[in-house]
Assembly symmetry: C2
């Protein structure tokens, strides 16, 4: 007997869950046309049934007992929007075990246990869709899975955390310092009371794991991501970057070439000619470089009730279409390429470096000699007096250089008496520096 | 018996066709992993077998006889990259009649006869994919079909013609005039010897028909698109736009609200805060506004051998997957909404207007009175002496106003003796004007 109605169990009823219910209610007719079947929310798992909510639903829809969803025969699809690792992981595995399809917005879970979940889904011929786990409303996972299926992706760079992009935009545009900008982000609800996961780059790192696994067909894990957050960035660094033609961004980067793969999240000076440099505020954008397609960029809201819920419901429509066509579990892309991570002398990039040095004859020669010894060549050097002292401030941008050489140069500078302080250094992405009028 | 190899017949072997062969040859193993079946080009329809080509293929692959492809039992899929309406349309319909699936890059055909082709495909349970017909390597059609399937698209704006965007970027960045910029575009191969279809907006109009049909689920046709090209744009217009904080772009726009739909292609002053304003050169970008997802933008190469061929081969991979799953013809999205086109008094936008007027007392009052009579309010007015004459130049930007009112105002000004010349007027998109230092 063919199904006429698809019943959905939702686990979690926070911001995204509320959006999901709103969209399903508001677009019933469109969803029927697009998926071919009626979609109904049958049960919603909550922590507290009596809690006051922004959206009212009949109380018989709510339950505190996960088994009413996981073992309900009439429920075909689970939407997991509760977040966190446990018990979300156990619920999803139990749902798959019961032959239920899964749509999840849980990046932490997919970054850490994506492989296990997808294997179980494959075994059970179930769908798992997780577009909402990366960059909210931006359909980047679909693009990587379908649209670039005939291409070889070589590089994915992205602004995948709205909180840090809001903070950096504020520091850049208004000259705010980090603490002020963070406080404002918190006041506006863009940053959490404990902002660690966002500002230290962990949230972005998880998204980069998901993106690189899908884009490169290589199973990547979180401990392969080199992560650096934004809490040490000063407004001076941002101002110097701007003067040289760069915007400071917390950039996720995943790159593959014949040497292997490299994944990182770190503050990066992005050249103003690069489309990512003009992505401001809480917006996200992902820049994909494919051998054939060249450069493409996907831009949009990275979070928020309705953008994220749009991705969840679009995934649900895909699951429902698959149910109608009886082809569930076919869209799981397995990683089929062998993994080789680049070593530090296979990782190349340009660097920005800011030093405070003794302002005396011969200092410059010593520094440039040190770089020459490491075979690091410099594209831009600026020197100026430092705060009315006998010291000088030196800013340098290198040409492409191996990470191992640059790290070695930094270690040597730490032991040079003429170098008073290594103020900061950052990765540089995009075009050449150009001294702009302030 | 299950198929192991999918055989493809390609019609046309120009730039895109060459790219398709290159990608299929270069990525055999990846394509097998991704689609599950081996893909082989079986025959290529050409006009002249002996023509010298950039890419050599065994001569037995080439044919001048379309029937060797259309009626070849072993061929499962047709790739149509010959372009033009006839005989491409007849070939595609014949292929569908024979139960062959179709991938096409032909925007002219899909804009004019998309409905007929998709109906035939549906009838024959065949696939028709045409991602490459709009914006080359940017997967915008998939995004509209799948990713935003749970949302209601309200507005699509796009830079969908690389030739005109190259010309306008050149005029804007280098102060070139239209003729110079066009000549350079022709010298670089970005514009054709007869550039009419690009510069007069016809190419963009066809793409907007495809986008709005898909995005709004309403069958739109070319004669519903109001089209204006770029050949009348002066470098003064561009310079004034810049001074007010706008970039001149040839913008395709499709909008729907409760009054109906509106589709246009016209030179538009796009505010610098809008992401489309920073899309330069031959790049394309499409900005989609959905009720739930908010603003998203898709950016990339709009043309070129490999970007366009990437879209064609990705479509081919989708067809091959569908063959393996025996679900061809399921992805054809029919229009199911009724069409109502907005009348001119339901179309609202802001306008830029540049006039030359007599520099005498009372002139300003007369002009502003005329606008007040039409209930048009002004957000910005500038007046300055005009070329050492007794005349003045007046530049105005209106608030949102009905097209019918603005057109009426223009007609009245044509008959006012104090108005010496209506230099130009343009649609304005995005934020408010702000007088910037030159």
């Amino acid at each position: 007997m063919e199904k006429k109605v698809i019943k959905v169990g939702m686990m979690g009823f926070g911001t995204v869950g509320t959006g999901v219910v709103r969209i399903i209610r508001g677009h019933q007719e469109d969803l029927l046309k697009k998926s071919g079947l009626k979609i109904e929310i049958e049960k919603i798992l909550v922590q507290n049934i009596d809690k006051k909510r922004n959206l009212s639903v009949p109380s018989h829809l709510l339950t505190v007992n996960p088994e009413e969803i996981l073992y309900a025969k009439e429920i075909d699809v689970i939407i997991e929007v509760m977040g966190g690792i446990h018990p979300a992981k156990e619920y999803i595995l139990a749902a798959l075990e019961q032959g239920k399809h899964v749509v999840t917005a849980n990046k932490d879970l997919m970054a850490l246990y994506g492989d296990e979940i997808l294997s179980k889904a494959k075994e059970k011929k179930c769908d798992v869709y997780y577009e909402a786990s990366v960059a909210g409303g931006i359909p980047i996972l679909r693009a990587l899975m379908d649209s670039f299926s005939s291409d070889r992706i070589t590089k994915i760079t992205g602004i995948v955390n709205g909180t840090t992009n809001y903070i950096l935009s504020k520091m850049s545009h208004e000259g705010a310092d980090y603490t002020e900008a963070l406080q404002e982000a918190q006041a506006l609800g863009y940053a959490e009371a404990d902002p660690t996961s966002d500002v230290e780059g962990l949230d972005a790192a998880r998204k980069m794991v998901i993106l690189s696994t899908l884009g490169f067909h290589i199973p990547t894990t979180l401990d392969e991501v080199s992560v650096k957050g934004i809490s040490q960035i000063s407004k001076e660094d941002i101002a110097y970057g701007k003067k040289l033609g760069y915007e400071m961004k917390l950039l996720g980067l995943a790159e593959q070439n014949e040497d292997g793969i490299e994944i990182s999240v770190e503050p990066t000076l992005v050249h103003l000619s690069h489309p990512l440099s003009s992505v401001h505020g809480v917006f996200n954008a992902i820049y994909v470089h494919g051998e054939a397609v060249g450069e493409t960029m996907f831009y949009g809201a990275g979070a928020g009730e309705l953008p994220t819920a749009t991705s969840v419901v679009s995934d649900l429509v895909s699951v429902v279409k698959n149910i109608r066509l009886a082809i569930n579990g076919q869209n799981i892309t397995s990683s089929y390429k062998e993994k080789k991570c680049k070593s530090d002398n296979e990782k190349y990039c340009k660097y920005f470096l800011r030093l405070v040095v003794s302002d005396q004859a011969g200092v410059f020669t010593k520094i440039t000699q040190l770089f020459a010894d490491q075979k690091i060549s410099l594209s831009t050097i600026l020197q100026q007096p430092y705060q009315h002292t006998q010291l000088a401030e030196v800013i340098m941008i290198t040409h492409e250089t191996a990470k191992s050489s640059f790290d070695q140069a930094i270690r040597q500078m730490e032991n040079m008496p003429i170098i008073k302080e290594i103020k900061s250094f950052y990765r540089v992405e995009g075009g050449e520096a150009e001294w702009l009028a302030s």
